[in-house]
């Protein structure tokens, strides 16, 4: 433990780089953003565990629903479901029955994944490093990033899924010809078809790109700031500053976490609502 602190004090860039590396099989090529040969084990494990935990909680509470005397967990989950339902009714009243569960899953899963950012920065990587050293690996080369949404993979996976659903809902409600008509004749008339195609294409592609990048950017910036605040403890006299700043930033980050999960869910509902409008309402 003290060894890793000494490393932090003497080599801040190395400390930050160590905490920004994923536990992955294979290494990313230098300067490349997309590399399909790399698999991030830590992102997969944490998101899987959170999803399984969420599913188990839902199943357990759903099994013993009591309409007359609801218990604590049931109350919380009912509040959540009513909240999401209210948003859907406000924005997209003619939603079919799958939009509600989708929005609820997105909100709660993204919120839980974001909330892993509130754990102390060194906690899980040190634990994993300790366990790895029991098996003989060098703890300095064992990396573990605990927040899945600080990885472009996770946020873009969610965003691309929503994009696939947008295309599916468009085709289901407008038909293939209605969907292509939207590309060809909006926003200008039929004499400017190339311009229409370009503008509608940009609008459609901007939806998943902005969804993914917004969540990634917020979470990455938050994590980076936590790391920089952790580096403030280079001497005993600066520790009160680190504790104060860390607490303030963590409190503000609670708001950011909830807000980003809420925005992701709300935008999903809005986009699906837009996609479900029949052609003449557009």
């Amino acid at each position: 433990m003290s060894e890793s602190n000494a490393t932090a004090i003497s080599d801040p860039v190395g400390y930050i780089n160590h905490h920004l590396t994923n536990m992955s099989s294979g290494t990313l090529g230098e300067g490349s953003v997309i590399d399909f040969s790399v698999f991030h084990i830590d992102v997969f494990l944490v998101s899987l565990l959170l999803a399984l935990g969420l599913g188990y909680l839902g199943w357990k509470v759903g099994k013993s629903l009591d309409a007359d005397k609801p218990t604590g967990a049931q109350n919380v989950l009912e509040m959540l479901v009513e909240f999401v339902n209210q948003q859907i009714k406000d924005i997209f009243p003619t939603a079919d029955k799958w939009v509600g569960p989708l929005a609820l899953t997105i909100f709660s899963w993204v919120f839980l994944m974001n909330a892993m950012d509130l754990l102390p920065v060194d906690l899980v990587p040190s634990l994993v490093g300790g366990i790895a050293s029991l098996f003989g690996a060098d703890p300095h080369h064992v990396y573990f990033k605990v927040v899945p949404t600080t990885n472009l993979d996770t946020t873009f996976a969610l965003a691309l899924l929503v994009f696939g659903l947008i295309v599916f809902y468009n085709i289901k409600h407008k038909g293939v010809w209605g969907y292509t008509k939207m590309f060809l004749f909006h926003p200008f008339g039929k004499f400017l078809i190339p311009v229409n195609i370009i503008m509608t294409l940009i609008e459609e592609i901007a939806k998943p790109v902005s969804l993914g990048l917004r969540l990634f950017g917020n979470m990455f910036a938050g994590e980076l700031l936590f790391l920089l605040i952790a580096l403030l403890a280079f001497s005993v006299w600066t520790m009160p500053a680190q504790i104060a700043l860390g607490t303030l930033w963590a409190i503000f980050h609670i708001l950011v976490i909830t807000l980003q999960a809420f925005i992701f869910m709300l935008l999903t509902i809005v986009y699906l609502g837009l996609a479900s409008q029949s052609a003449d309402e557009h």
Binding site: N17, L20, L28, G29, E30, G31, S32, V33, S210, L213, R214, F216, G217, N218, F220, A221, L224, L259, Q260, F262, I263, L266, L267
Partner: protein, 95 residues
């Protein structure tokens, strides 16, 4: 690939990132300022709408933070995984 080339690329990247972050911070602050000023105006006109307006303010604020965050992400990419170094290495190694 000698040290002076790397130093030049790194210093140009650093200056570029500084300008990028300044612009992102400025845009974000101005955007939030506009949103919150309209929010306060709205509360002054209709105090009973405060709860709804708060929700909407936070939501649009988060939406508008998207582009400064994207810009921040790109600048962090330049710092931590500088693509220019890779490109220069390839060009110098081949040449």
């Amino acid at each position: 690939m000698d040290a002076s080339v790397v130093a030049q690329i790194m210093s140009s990247t650093a200056i570029g990132v500084g300008i990028i972050l300044a612009a992102a911070g400025l845009g974000s602050a101005l955007g939030w300022g506009l949103i919150c000023s309209k929010f306060i105006e709205g509360i002054a006109r209709q105090p009973e709408m405060r709860a709804q307006l708060t929700g909407q303010m936070l939501f649009t604020g988060g939406l508008m933070e998207a582009f400064p965050m994207i810009v921040l992400g790109i600048s962090m990419w330049f710092i931590f995984a500088n693509p220019f170094i890779g490109a220069a290495k390839a060009a110098l190694g081949a040449g």
